[in-house]
Every structure is written in C-alpha cells, then in structure tokens.
C-alpha cells in the first residue's frame, strides 16, 4: 500500500505541475523594455539582415533577443504591431503596398517618403540603404528564347498559356498577381503556390512545372541558373530599398546610429555577395555570415 501511495503522490505531483504551465508559461513575460526583439521574414536574406542588425546592436551593448523566420509580411507585421517583435529588416516598396494597397509611388525617394507618412505612429523606419532587392518575374533562358521575352510587355500575349509559381501571398498582393493583371492585363493559366523565392521555386522553373515565377533580384540562383529577369516598364514592383522597421519606443539614438551605419554600408552588390555566400556549398549559418560581414565592414 505504501508503494501505491508513493506512486499516487508522484502522479498527483505530475498532474499538479501539469496544471500550472498552461496558465503560466505561455504568457511570455513582455520582454524587459531595454531588450530589442529582432524578427525576420521566412527567407534567408531577411534572416541574414536580421542577424546583422542583432549582432551590431549587441556589440554596442544593446540587449537583443531574436525571433527569426516568422513567416511572411502578412503574418509578422501583426507581430510588429502587437509588440511581439520590435525590429525587422524591411523593403520600402512592398512594405508601403502592405500598409496602403493603393500607393502609386515607384521611385526610390518617393516610396521612402510615402512610407514614412503611411506608417502608424508607433512604428518608424530608419535611413534607407542603397541596397535594392525587388520582387521580379523570372523565366528560364529557354522560355525567354522561345517566346522572345525581355520585359513583361513581351509576356502579355502568352500569360494565358503559362503556369506561374510564387509564394501563396503573391496571389493577392497589389505588387503580385493582381498588379500584373491590372497593369499588364496578364492573367496566367494557373498559379502554383511554391516557396518564397527559394529552392522550390527554382526547381519549379528548372523542371518546367511553372514557366514563370516570382524570385528576388538579389537571389544567387538567378545568376547560377542563367534565369532571365523580365523588365517591368509599368512598375508593378516599386523601388525596394532595404531598411530597418522599428518600434518607435525602442529606437534610441544609439540604436538609430548603429542601424543607420549599417544601412550606409549595404548596397545591392553586398546583398548579391552575401546571398551567394549563404547559398554556397557549405551552407553557412546566417549568424556566421553576418559576423564576418560586420567585421569586414568595420562596424
């Protein structure tokens, strides 16, 4: 009987522990006000930029915690708004279109100015970098030759025969399928939900599952596979400068200075190089690449 009693006591203890965590641990204490929570979107470049921000800030003695690879803007922007994350690398054009679907600005400076105005009060963007990474419609060399494609204008007559691949969110974004339809009157035969400019989209293009796809212009795969980036004369895709989006309360002068110093050093070439490094044969962790770059850039 004693044994049974011990057993029961153990189980009771177990179940008593069980009750509490549900109530307690889930409600993560809000991070102490001096900690900056850095987030990132679900693609490698965003993760790398977030690591660069986080690394530079913590080198300056700012307390940093990381919540990377959250998802797409539709998801993580909610996290920025509700304070789950404080800082995330962003791209001017898509962020503007996310906040204001009807934004018409396309040039780098106009987009930046409009974005500053469009942001809610509690969020700010810091200085924009010269680095641009645009969404683009990309085709293989063979498809480009077959239909003699150079720009989206050339693609228009063939849209209805081609399958298009991209991340699921591309279907509804104004700088996505709906923009292609509105500005070029291009409607594809089929849309296939693939990944966010990643290996699946690349594979889809290569094996002809899709004939055109959404990739990022800084993607090393474009160069490696000799894909053709179609020009966008009607500017469905606005200027996309990399810059930090940050919770206003966390943007102390020191934080601003640190992040602005980074933005001054990053240009499009930097992004291309860093992405090539990430895609390299040894697949280094973004954290490591971030540290190396910061050391090299002298920040």
């Amino acid at each position: 009987m004693k044994r049974i009693a011990t057993a029961v006591a153990a189980v009771m203890l177990l179940s008593a522990c069980g009750g509490d965590p549900l109530a307690g641990s889930g409600n993560n204490e809000p991070a102490p006000t001096d900690t900056i929570v850095v987030g990132s979107a679900n693609f490698p470049e965003s993760r790398l930029l977030a690591e660069i921000y986080a690394e530079a800030l913590s080198a300056k003695g700012v307390k940093v915690s990381k919540k990377l690879n959250i998802g797409n803007r539709e998801l993580y922007y909610k996290g920025v708004q509700d304070g789950s994350i404080d800082l995330i690398p962003e791209y001017t054009g898509v962020l503007l279109k996310h906040i204001n679907k009807d934004a018409t600005e396309v040039g780098s400076d106009e987009v930046y100015a409009a974005l500053k105005k469009a942001l809610p009060q509690n969020l700010v963007v810091l200085d924009k970098s010269a680095a641009e990474d645009k969404d683009a419609v990309v085709v293989t060399k063979q498809i480009a030759a077959q239909y003699s494609l150079k720009s989206l204008d050339d693609l228009v007559p063939y849209c209805k025969d081609l399958a298009f691949g991209g991340p699921p969110e591309f279907q509804n974004r104004p700088d996505g399928l709906s923009g292609l339809k509105a500005k070029y009157n291009c409607e594809f035969k089929e849309f296939k939900s693939l990944d966010v400019g990643g290996p699946v989209t690349v594979a889809g293009l290569k094996d002809n599952t899709v004939q055109a796809a959404n990739l990022f212009t800084t993607d090393y795969a474009i160069k490696a596979n000799e894909f053709v980036v179609l020009e966008d004369p009607k500017n469905v895709f606005a200027a996309q400068n990399v810059l930090p989006l940050i919770n206003e309360k966390k943007a102390s002068q020191q934080v601003r200075d640190t992040l602005n110093a980074i933005s001054r050093k990053i240009d499009t070439k930097t992004l291309l190089d860093l992405n090539q490094k990430l895609a390299g044969p040894d697949k280094p962790e973004p954290e490591k690449v971030a540290k190396e770059w910061l050391a090299g850039a002298g920040i």
């Binding site: 889930g26 998801l75 304070g83 994350i85 990944d195 290996p199 895609a279 697949k283 954290e287």
Partner: protein, 212 residues
C-alpha cells in the same frame, strides 16, 4: 551529423524549446484527461459525448489549429501558448479514451473489496482504481508524448516550433543536413521520452511484473 556538431549551441537552443513545447502540453493534457476519463468511465452519456468529440478534434489538421488558436484565444502571434493549446487538445483527445478504458478495466471484485474495507470514493480512486489503471494509462501517455514531440515542429510555420525551425530553414536554403539534424533530434527525444515513461510505468506498477 556534422551540422549538429558545428552548430552545437544553436542545436541545443532549439532542443530546449522543442522539449518545453512538447512536455508542457503532455503534462497539462494528462492532468485534464484524468477527471474527464474518470467521468467517461462512469457515465455512458459522457462517453457518447466525449469520445466522438475527441475523434473529431483529432481530425483537425495541427497546422490549422496552431494558426487559428491565436485568433480564438486572442494572444500575440508569437506566443508559445499558440502551440501549447492545440497540443493540449490533441493530448486530451488521445488520453481520454485511454484513461477511461483503463479505469473501466479495473476488476469489479477489487473495487467491491475496497468498498467493503470502508474506502471513501476519493481515497479509493487515488489508492486503488487509479494505480491499477496506470499501466494502460501510461501506454496511452507514451503514444501521446511521442506524437506531441513529433507534432511540435509544425509550429515552425508560424515562427514557433523547436526543431521545426531547422526544417523550414533547411527547406528554404536547400540544406538537407539541417533538416536531418532536426529529424534526428526529434526521433532521439521521442525515443528517450518513451523509454523514460516506460521506466516510470515499471517503477510505479511493480505488481504488474510480480507474477512473472
């Protein structure tokens, strides 16, 4: 394997998150399923409601439940509770039946003897019914634990999820080794947890082996 060794710190970090996200729901779900299972073992009506409900809950895809939870309970999107609540639901759905079956299988003559000895219901439940039901209950708990450990990863699709983070990152960068690292971690955790529960079960029910 080399990825694990070269990125030991990161691997350890996701392991800790993964453990937390799978153990908390198992404990909470287990605690909830004891009273529910007891209730189901006593009442045919409760069974008629609880069992089909458990079956239906189990058919809701975990990814959907994880994504919908923050809206239903109104917490922040990156809160771990968003993974914990669905897993508690799955655990309860799995365990209610085990606990109920286990309690129902306690021999009637044992219960009659305990009653005759003057045991009050609560004391009888704690010292007779429940211990005798432990072997079957723990068998259920092992299944629930292993499936929780394997299911946590789905949370990575909304930025939570331990080893799942390695899956999504590996997928995004065409990095097989990273995915494998998460897979190995998951299986090792599951096997360890399963073994531990097996051991606990043996320690708690020495009479189960006494006759052999």
């Amino acid at each position: 394997m080399t990825w694990i060794l070269e990125n030991w710190e990161r691997f350890w970090e996701v392991t800790a998150v993964h453990l937390r996200l799978s153990i908390v729901p198992v404990l909470a779900g287990f605690a909830l399923s004891i009273p529910l299972g007891w209730f189901a073992s006593r009442s045919a009506k409760a069974r008629a409601v609880l069992f089909p409900l458990a079956n239906v809950l189990f058919t809701i895809p975990s990814i959907a439940l994880i994504v919908i939870t923050p809206i239903l309970i109104g917490v922040k999107i990156l809160d771990e509770i968003n993974v914990i609540v669905p897993l508690v639901i799955y655990t309860v759905a799995l365990m209610v039946r085990s606990v109920s079956d286990a309690l129902a299988a306690v021999p009637g003559n044992v219960i009659a003897a305990a009653n005759a000895m003057g045991y009050r219901p609560l004391r009888r439940f704690l010292t007779v019914d429940f211990p005798l039901a432990l072997p079957v209950t723990i068998a259920g708990l092992r299944v629930a634990t292993v499936s929780n450990i394997s299911m946590v990863s789905v949370g990575a699709l909304v930025g939570l999820g331990g080893y799942g983070q390695l899956f999504t990152e590996g997928y995004q960068t065409d990095h097989t080794e990273k995915v494998l690292a998460g897979l190995i971690g998951t299986v090792v955790l599951a096997v360890l947890a399963d073994g531990l529960l097996l051991l606990i079960g043996r320690l708690l029910t020495p009479w189960a082996r006494a006759g052999r």
